[in-house]
């Protein structure tokens, strides 16, 4: 009995010592102020977790809560909704909006991009063509007055002096200097189907995500095309995970640092020019295989907007994910950090994404914007860091980490500090 008491005291001393150490380190870890770590486990290399979220809805001045597109541009953030365009002035916090009565050519804004050279905002209109917003005026192109191949525009991207529009019947490229339009369909591009869904540009390459035709790469210098299709050629299976695009029905592309990120309704992918890697919800932190959009932050980090939350591949080399969801009952936010099949951390937050049906993500320095079908969110990235870093773990309500999937630590709900 005496030995038992002595052992318990030793363990207590060790535990107190470790807690003090972790709390000390907590001060420099960049974790937000709303809570503290109530149980300090051993330090571990972990990704950055966004824990401060601000929401924007119609109550704040958005024209509509169904947010299809977001574009950060300096002190402004442009927001495309199902019924209007909005601009958030980050310095004043004011929101200005435009509907059809204000000159917006069509109510549904599905895509946005900014020409950094001119400052013009290019607006993809879902069923209304393409618009340019400049100097307070909307100019409008559609399939009856221009070379826009179709009015149902899903994606817009600026490439040098050109504006690309991904439409339901092909892609159009508009040279804003010469006024020349070029149309790309199955006639002059390797489109097995012409149903363009997403378009992105970086480093001399335009990538089209095409429903039924995988991804097409357009080399701006040579004006040549390269196609990426699902190698097994079958709709109902993915034969091998890493042999190519997981499915030909792609929804979005994002090219950065030489890495192509792809979203689809059947899973996501990463391509480094030589190797493909497929991602599915059943084995990663992806909340769902139904990917509405993707945005790559760099070669190792990508944000996937899905119908069941936002999945972030935070560190490609270690396959570490952060999954952001919202509790539909309490409306609290939740971030779950996983590595492979192991859950490392669960963070319970007062706020997270405003709805689990996520449609778009946008980077704004260290901050993130997430468009959902029920509002817009801005996640504040104070102390954001890339990849993994040693820091204390957040701990979650007990029982939340599934047996057999956890890192084996005990968990508690984080508490507010201060």
């Amino acid at each position: 009995m005496k030995y038992l008491i002595i052992s318990a005291r030793i363990l207590m001393v060790l535990w107190l010592g470790e807690t003090a150490l972790c709390q000390a380190k907590d001060l420099t870890s960049g974790l937000p102020a709303f809570s503290s770590i109530s149980v300090c486990a051993t330090e571990q290399k972990l990704p950055y977790v966004y824990t401060e979220w601000k929401h924007f809805t119609t109550k704040d001045g958005l024209p509509n809560d169904h947010v299809f597109a977001v574009k950060a541009d300096g002190s402004k953030v442009w927001v495309g909704t199902e019924n209007g365009l909005a601009c958030i002035d980050k310095t004043t916090g004011k929101i200005k909006s435009w509907k059809e009565k204000d000159g917006l050519p069509w109510r549904v804004v599905s895509a946005l991009d900014v020409n950094t050279k001119t400052g013009e905002l290019w607006v993809g209109l879902f069923g209304g063509g393409l618009a340019r917003f400049s100097g307070g005026r909307f100019d409008h192109w559609h399939q009856l007055n221009s070379g826009l191949i179709n009015d149902v525009v899903y994606g817009v991207a600026i490439e040098n002096d050109n504006v690309w529009a991904a439409t339901t019947a092909g892609a159009s490229r508009y040279n804003t200097v010469t006024g020349e339009w070029t149309i790309y369909t199955e006639k002059n591009a390797p489109m097995e189907e012409i149903w363009n869904y997403g378009v992105s540009y970086d480093a001399g390459k335009v990538y089209l995500g095409i429903w039924g035709s995988g991804v097409l790469e357009f080399d701006v210098a040579t004006e040549s095309w390269k196609d990426y299709l699902d190698p097994d050629g079958e709709m109902e299976i993915d034969l091998y995970r890493d042999d190519g695009i997981v499915h030909v029905i792609t929804t979005g592309t994002s090219y950065i640092d030489g890495i192509l990120w792809v979203s689809s309704y059947f899973g996501m992918c990463r391509y480094d020019g030589r190797h493909w890697r497929g991602y599915f919800a059943h084995e990663t932190g992806l909340p769902s295989d139904f990917g509405n959009a993707v945005k790559g932050r760099d070669a190792n980090e990508a944000w996937f907007a899905t119908d069941k939350g936002v999945g972030v591949l935070a560190d490609f080399p270690s396959d570490t994910w952060v999954t952001y969801t919202m509790d539909p009952n309490t409306h609290r936010g939740k971030a779950v950090v996983t590595q492979g099949q192991i859950t490392l951390e669960i963070v319970d937050m007062p706020r997270g994404i405003p709805h689990n049906y996520a449609l778009w993500t946008e980077f704004d320095g260290n901050n993130i914007w997430v468009g959902t079908s029920k509002g817009l969110a801005n996640a504040i990235g104070i102390g954001y860091y890339k990849g993994l870093r040693s820091r204390a773990r957040w701990v979650a309500p007990s029982g939340e980490i599934e047996a057999g999937k956890s890192g084996g630590h005990k968990t508690k709900r984080p508490k507010r500090s201060g």
Partner: protein, 489 residues
Amino acid sequence: MKRCQFLLLMVFVVLAGSCATRKQARLGDQITEIDAETLQLLEKINSASAYEVPDLGLRKDYNYAKTAQDVEPFRHVKPYKEHFLLQMEYTGPGRAIPEPTDVDSVKIGFIGPIMSTVSVATGGKSHEEALGIKMLQGARLAIEGANAAGGYLKRDIPFELVVSNDNGLWGASGNEIIKMAYKDKVWAILGTIDGANSHIAIRVALKAEVTMMNSADTDPTFIETNIPWVFRCISDDRQQGYLLVDYMYRKLKLKRVGVIRASNRYGRFGVREISDGSRRLGNPIIIEMAYALGTEDFSLQLERLKDENLEAIVHWGDAHEGALILNQMRRMGMDQPYFVCDRCLSEEFVEITGDNAEGVICAYPWNPTRKDSRLERFYEDFLKRFGEQPETYAAHGYDGMSMLIWAIQAAGLNRAKIRDVLAYQSKPWHGVTGDIVFSAALDDVGEVYLAKRRKGEWKFYSREDLKIPQGYIPPRDRVSRPTLTAQSR
């Protein structure tokens, strides 16, 4: 409390049942019948907030599209992932949108090829108006029947059909869906026929969040898109192809089969399961020839086919071309059995081919000669309304529109709930085309038939009627199934 809720529910069921019985007797239809299962479903979806996804019990299939093991793609390899086995959910906030009170009619969209213009599929003159007009007639009959029975019963206002033509270049069907979803504010849409137009339409429906019921596009890939808003109430070319393949190889023991098809999406995708199935059963298609729509002389294709000493020829394309090909084949002394797709089972085909039609075998998505009081009543009503007999596009259009009307009556004026009550039905819909059974992919996987032309009439046969053997259909998904052994191959 639970007992009270149960009693209340039972009262609802009884009231709904008696109400439905009265309507049934008067209408002879099921569009106002709301069963206990649907009432329970409504209880869940009506109480869901904008943020919740109610647990409605996702449909799970263990085999995709009733595919026999020996015609599965890459059947000797365990795939990494198998799609379409678990029903897609709608996870958006739409269920919480309240029903509007300021409507004076309940609009339902129709999109189909009804006016002659140019065609996406051919780059020339359109060719599917004859089918689209029939589909529209079927849809109209369903709407008129519902209005005769009181319209949208909850508000005592009529149903209204908003009609759009999809025959246009530049993806016109997408623009039409946008117009219907945002300007006309329809509650659901029926359409369309052409595979390309259908794909364009459903992508728009997904973003606009409106149910699309398809009653005429048999392209297998139409439903293979993971869109939770899409339904199909006609058996597709995959199901028809499987039956034809089984008949040709397992029953007739043919070895050398050739294909001639339209060089459009319908021909290309329609014949794909036959080509794949033939190869997987060890009898690869000897030759596949395509022709441009509007071709009148098929000598080029038929001479190549003739040179191959074929035992049978399969045609996948429209009735007009199918008939011309058959006549030219016979003139060239090609007397092989002629297998055709469902589009060839038409008056036009028979008129052009005359006696040559004898012996033609057609894959068909339903049996229009079966004894069924509902079907007979449909024939009578259609004849009375339009002065002509309905055909397959009219019948499926009627069924598709009836299902939408039923869903609106049950769910109310909320697009997400309309989608839900259709998506989570566990029982088949008793349509005029037969029982419509949805798979997890919300596709009709009901029985398909072979139609044989005998003595100037089409005779319809089920798989069972003709004792057509079928390959083993495993009761487990491919990923968790034990790897094939040499013996089981």
